[in-house]
Symmetry: C2
């Protein structure tokens, strides 16, 4: 059984072709952030005939299992990324939709302090910086 198979099994899921292939796409794709539709199209290109509903289901199961993270970006559609255990935030280019990641311990710490000040028990946080990336600025 492959490494991926073990991840799937550990999540309490049966090892099926759709699950193995979705995981493979996420691992081999040059784009780290993919929508369900992106994954679906990549599967079609690979010659795998897997339904879109299954892709959505599998991605949600992987999210529940902690294998992937879901980013809900502006305007209601989601992208997924392989979870690497390191929290990070995102910079999104509003022109080309490219996504970059960053980690900033100062911000992390301030967020924790604010939650405490307000009496909140923080479960999560999401920070998106929107802007125009270097390449898109140079193009125009």
């Amino acid at each position: 059984m492959s490494m991926e198979g073990q991840d799937i099994k550990k999540a309490g899921l049966k090892i099926t072709l759709p699950r193995l292939k979705v995981l493979e796409i996420l691992e081999v794709s040059e784009q780290r952030h993919m929508s369900a539709e992106d994954v679906y199209k990549a599967l079609l290109l690979m010659g795998e005939d897997i339904g879109l509903a299954t892709v959505y289901r599998v991605l949600t199961q992987f999210e529940d299992a902690g294998l992937v993270s879901r980013l809900s970006i502006d305007g209601g559609h989601a992208v997924f990324e392989l979870e690497d255990g390191v929290h990070h935030d995102h910079l999104l280019c509003v022109s080309c939709n490219q996504i970059e990641e960053f980690v900033d311990e100062v911000i992390e710490q301030r967020q924790r302090s604010i939650a405490i000040e307000k009496g909140f028990k923080m479960t999560e946080h999401s920070l998106y910086i929107y802007g125009i990336c270097k390449q898109c600025q140079e193009k125009n």
Copy 2:
């Protein structure tokens, strides 16, 4: 003409009953953050027979005019708040859906620095801290 009427007029919009009433709801409602549906229901309670499509249109126009801000919270549905000119971020209670606001200049500054480091021209940013508010913690 009321104060509100002037705001609407300044936005280049005709002063109509639906617009006055939507603005009134946003001002008098005890909840600062309302979805289009919330506003629509509040209008019905007031006895105003205004269509949901109009509520959406008016809120979008108010957003364009800078009278309200739209928050896109987790999973694609939006809430609106009266714009007071002061940028702030949000704490959301995942239990009771209450929303609190905060301002943190340290975070603001770090965000600007990160955008510069990454070569991004920042247009916007959104920061949400999710957690359980004080009241909900005490309840359980």
